[in-house]
Each structure stands twice: as C-alpha cells, then as structure tokens.
C-alpha cells in the first residue's frame, strides 16, 4: 500500500515537470518576441559600445537563443530573476518585498472566507430548499456576479467616505510606518473585499457537497438509530465534506500571488498585483514574464500538492492503480 502511494506521488511529480518546462519555454519565447533588448536593462546611455559588448558577453546575451534559454533558466533556479527595464531594479528584490505584502492580505482573507463558507455551506446544505438555504444560495449566486472592484468601490464609499472609519489607500499612514494597529486598519477594507469575493464559490461547493453527503447510506443508518441531526451533521458529514476541500485549498496556492490583482489596484496596496499592473502599463517585459512564470508555476505546483494531499487523506483515490 505504501509503495502504491509512493509510486503515485512519483508519477504525479514526473507529470508536472514537463508542464513547468513548457511554461518556461513560452515565457522565454514571449520575452524574445518582445520589442526590446535584454541588455537595455543593464546599460546606461553613456556606456561605450565596448562596455556594452562586455556586459552582453558576461550575461551570455551574445549567444544563440537556446543557449540564452539555459542561462535564463539557470538564473531563475538560482534566484536571479533579471532586471526591470523601467526602474533597473533587481526583480528578485522587488518580488521579495511585494510577495509578503500580498500574502498579508490574501492569507487572512482566504482563511476567514473558508471558515465562513464551511459554516454557511453546511447550514444551507442541511436545510436544502428552506428559507436559510434560499437566502445563502441566492446570495452566493449573486456574489459570483459581483466584480470585486465594484464591491471595493462600494465599501470604500461607505466606510471610507461616508463613515470615515477606515483608511482607503496604501498600507501605512505616512510617518506611522512602524505602528501595527495602523497597518491593521489599512488591511480591513481590502481583506473584507477579498473575503467576500472568495466566499460565493466556496459556499456553493460546501453546500453541494453537504447535500451529496446527506443522501449517503451512513446518514440514513444514523437516522435510523435515532441520532440527532445536528450530531450527524457535525460528527459525520462535516468530516466528509472537509476532505474534498483540501483539494480546493491546494489549488488556491497561486492566489497567494495573483489572488488580489484588482483589489490591490483599487486600494493602492503595494503588493504583487499593483507591481504587475504597473509593469504591464509600462511594457516592462522582464517583470511581466517573471510574474507569469511564477504564477503559472504556482498553479502547477498547487494542483500537484492538492492531488498529493488528497491521496494521502483518502487513499481510495481513483486511478491510483493505472
């Protein structure tokens, strides 16, 4: 049994590697297609032709494209992600500042959304067709249709302009960078937007999986024994509903980077989303490709992790014996 599991894990990892490889080739090709020369990011206008040639040789930019690809991959793997052509800053440094900022928003919002969704989804699923279900399900199908930036604008108007209780821009008040409570109050609105926009799909998922579980035989057996319905719900159904949620959590891994692009833009939050949008607007190709490579790799790794987690918690997984 153990061997089986190991074999499956190995097989899934081997499947993910070519995918990562192809994605990296696509990113590299797009950089090559872009109307700019990578050396521009490292030179200044008053350098002589000779110095520029030296820099080119040093970074392998005088080599044919496939050799450059290997240099590029080597750099990516050793943490050298290249330089922005607009600010000439190291992308690795920029990312290491901005990714934690985004995680600071996305992680609490996601955890809160997950907890609330499990609760609401269970309530709706257990009361299928009744008032509580109609309200929860109705609101979630409405929620799916709400663009997150519009929700952000409404909340900014209500809490920022009308009631004036929360700041609406950035991460800190100027001159108050060290204060933790100041940071918290800046986090409230963007986190609220993210939580509300993560919730609808999660609620729907928990609801339908609760409904599915309640029609299983073991529930009927419990009912026949006269168990209280709330006991069945929390003791048995919850456990089985939580298992598949692990897959969803795994697949949400890339959200830690790209989950808040629009929301960050509305609130001017200095995370990866604003960094990306600025790079797109300024045609900063190396930055754009770095984020594309990073986020797609996270999608692939997230899918891998969720598959592996699922087969560890539920070894009956189909297709293991393939």
């Amino acid at each position: 049994m153990r061997l089986f599991l190991l074999k499956y894990i190995l097989k899934r990892i081997l499947q993910a590697i070519p995918l990562l490889f192809i994605i990296s080739i696509i990113c590299f090709t797009l950089i090559q297609l872009a109307p700019y020369d990578a050396v521009d990011a490292m030179t200044t206008p008053n350098m002589t032709k000779k110095t520029i040639d030296l820099i080119k040789a040093r970074y392998g930019l005088d080599q044919p494209a496939y050799m450059q690809y290997f240099y590029w991959i080597k750099g990516i793997l050793s943490g050298e992600w290249g330089y922005s052509i607009v600010t000439h800053e190291s992308i690795t440094n920029d990312l290491s500042v901005r990714i934690p900022n985004t995680i600071l928003l996305v992680l609490p919002a996601y955890i809160l959304a997950l907890l609330l969704s499990i609760l609401l989804g269970l309530i709706a699923g257990a009361n299928k067709g009744k008032v509580a279900d109609k309200i929860i399900d109705g609101l979630s199908s409405f929620g799916i249709a709400i663009p997150s930036f519009w929700m952000a604008m409404i909340l900014v108007f209500i809490f920022g302009y009308l009631l004036d209780i929360f700041p609406i821009l950035g991460m800190h008040t100027v001159g108050n960078e060290e204060s933790f409570s100041d940071l918290l109050s800046h986090m409230v609105l963007p986190c609220m937007v993210l939580t509300l926009s993560f919730m609808p799909e999660l609620v729907r998922y928990v609801r339908s999986s609760t409904i599915g579980q309640l029609s299983e035989d073991y529930v009927m057996v419990q009912q026949a024994y006269g168990a209280a319905s709330s006991w069945i719900l929390f003791k048995h159904v919850l456990r089985n509903v939580l298992l598949p949620i692990i897959t969803i959590v795994g697949m949400s891994l890339p959200m830690l980077v790209t989950g808040a692009v629009v929301t960050e833009t509305v609130f001017g939050w200095p995370g990866i989303g604003t960094y990306f949008v600025k790079a797109i607007q300024g045609f900063d190709y190396p930055v754009v490709m770095a984020i594309m490579l990073l986020s797609s790799s996270l999608v692939i790794i997230g899918n891998l992790v969720s598959d592996l987690l699922y087969c560890i918690v539920d070894p009956r997984i189909k297709g293991m014996g393939e």
Partner: protein
C-alpha cells in the same frame, strides 16, 4: 429530431414557469439587449459635452446624473452596455467555436491528436487568466478588437474539455458507427452527427461564457487595459467613477448594477438550460 426539439422548448418553458427568478432574469436580458440596441433614441447624444451641467446628481432631466464633462450618464451607460454586450457575445462566439472544434477533434480522433490537444489545454490552463490575457494584450494595440480577441482566444479550454467528454460517448453510439461504416466522409460525420449531439453542451457553455467574458472585460477595462477612450464600457465607466467617488458616488452605482444584473441573469439562464439539457444532473 423535430419532436425532440419541441419537447426541449416545452421543458424550457416549464422550467421558466417553475423558477420565478429565472424568468425575471430572462426578461431582464431581453430588456437590456433592446435598450442597448435602441440606445440612440435617448434625447442626449452620448458624447455631448455640456460644461454648464457637470457632475450633477440624479434629476428629472438626467435620471442618473451627468459625468465630469456634463454628459448624460444614463445614455452613456446604455452605450456602454452595447460595448460590454458586444465584447461578451463576440468573445463567447470565438471561445466556444474553438472549444467545440478542439473538443470534437480531440474526442473523435483520440490517440496522439487527443493527447497533444489536451496537453496544450493543460498548459494554457495553468497560466492564470488575468496574467495570460493581460500579457497577450500588450502585444496588441489596445481597443475593442484586441479585447474581444484576447478573451475569445484564451478562454475556450473548459468548453473544449466538456465537448471532448461528450464526443467520446457520442462517437460510440450506433447511429454514428453506422454513418461511419456506411461510407460517409469524415467531415460529414462530424458536422451531421457529432456536432448536433454536443450542441446542448455548447449552448450551456456559451451562456456561462458570455457572463465570464463580460466580467473579464469589465476588470480589464477597469485596470485601463481594455476599452480605450472615446469608447466606453461599463468597466471603463467604473474606472472613471473611481476618481469621482468622493463627490459623485452615483456614478459608481449604475454601471456596477448593470454588470451584476447582466452577469447574474446569464448565469441563471445557464442554470435552467442545464436543467433542461441534463435533467439527471441538475440536482433538483
């Protein structure tokens, strides 16, 4: 075939009678289509600048007020709806056509072709849509055409997967096997037998696809990467409204509500169509 169609239409009507919100959603969609088409009947031209009535709140003259150039906001929202719906519908046509094409070819031929196409779908799906669509759009001149193409060309993957699964089961049915063995040409078998069989899946996928395309367009335009001046869509109107949120909050209400209601209605329509097409899986 005709009898089957009539039965479906009848089921559709029954479903509408049973499901009040779905009926309202359908009426709303017809209404919004009509008023976008007949937007030119409004007494105010959408680009008429009027410096004497800038940023006025809602009144009897201007139902939803005026924007920072004194243009009638209601009229602009109607014309914005034209753009948003055009993007939604055209992007849906491109995306579902590619999806159906790739899905049927993949499912019908199987083997290497299937493997190649489905691995390509995997690769494209592993790039987050927001990143993919914006990256491709920097290689194109921004505007209406670019955004339709970008959304259409990179959102067909889920349709392709659905249609492929459907094709896999349809191609083993007797009538298809018979058509094949009786010497009908390949394109004929696909067009006459496979495509009609996957058509219901296609219809359901297309309503959801319009809803998603409208949401994507609004997000991109809001970020300034979509529809450009002088054209405006609901998303770009909201981008504009963001700057005036403090003094003219009403500007944020109308385009946002229109997006929410339109997307919601298309999703609802998709739900009832799904219930008609796959009665077993609708979970009712």
């Amino acid at each position: 075939m005709a009898g089957k169609k009539n039965r479906r239409i009848k089921q559709f009507k029954d479903e509408l009678k049973r499901n009040k919100t779905a009926a309202i959603a359908l009426i709303f969609l017809i209404l919004i289509l009509l008023i976008s088409i007949f937007a030119f009947l409004s007494p105010y031209p959408p680009d008429q600048v009027d410096v004497t009535s800038v940023l006025q709140g809602p009144s009897a003259d201007h139902w939803f007020g005026t924007d920072e150039l004194g243009r009638d906001y209601f009229t602009r929202a109607l014309f914005g709806g034209r753009i948003s719906l055009t993007v939604g519908i055209l992007a849906m046509l491109i995306s579902t056509s590619i999806g159906v094409l790739v899905g049927t070819i993949s499912g019908y031929f199987g083997g290497r072709i299937d493997n190649f196409l489905m691995r390509s779908v995997d690769v494209i799906s592993s790039i987050p849509w927001m990143i993919l669509v914006t990256v491709v759009s920097i290689y194109l001149t921004p505007g209406l055409k670019a955004i339709i193409l970008v959304i259409g060309l990179f959102t067909w993957m889920s349709t392709a997967r659905l249609v492929r699964a459907e094709t896999l089961s349809v191609k083993e049915r007797e009538y298809v096997l018979y058509a094949k063995s009786s010497g009908q040409s390949l394109p004929k078998v696909i067009i006459k037998h496979i495509i009609p069989a996957v058509f219901p899946t296609f219809i359901v996928a297309s309503t959801v696809s319009i809803a998603n395309a409208i949401l994507m367009e609004s997000a991109l335009s809001f970020l300034g990467l979509g529809i450009q001046q002088p054209l405006s869509s609901w998303g770009s109107m909201l981008q504009n409204a963001q700057g005036n949120l403090g003094n003219a909050p009403y500007m944020a209400i109308l385009p946002g509500l229109l997006i929410v209601l339109t997307v919601y209605s298309f999703n609802r329509l998709g739900d009832i169509l799904r219930a008609v097409v796959e009665p077993k899986t609708s979970g009712k």
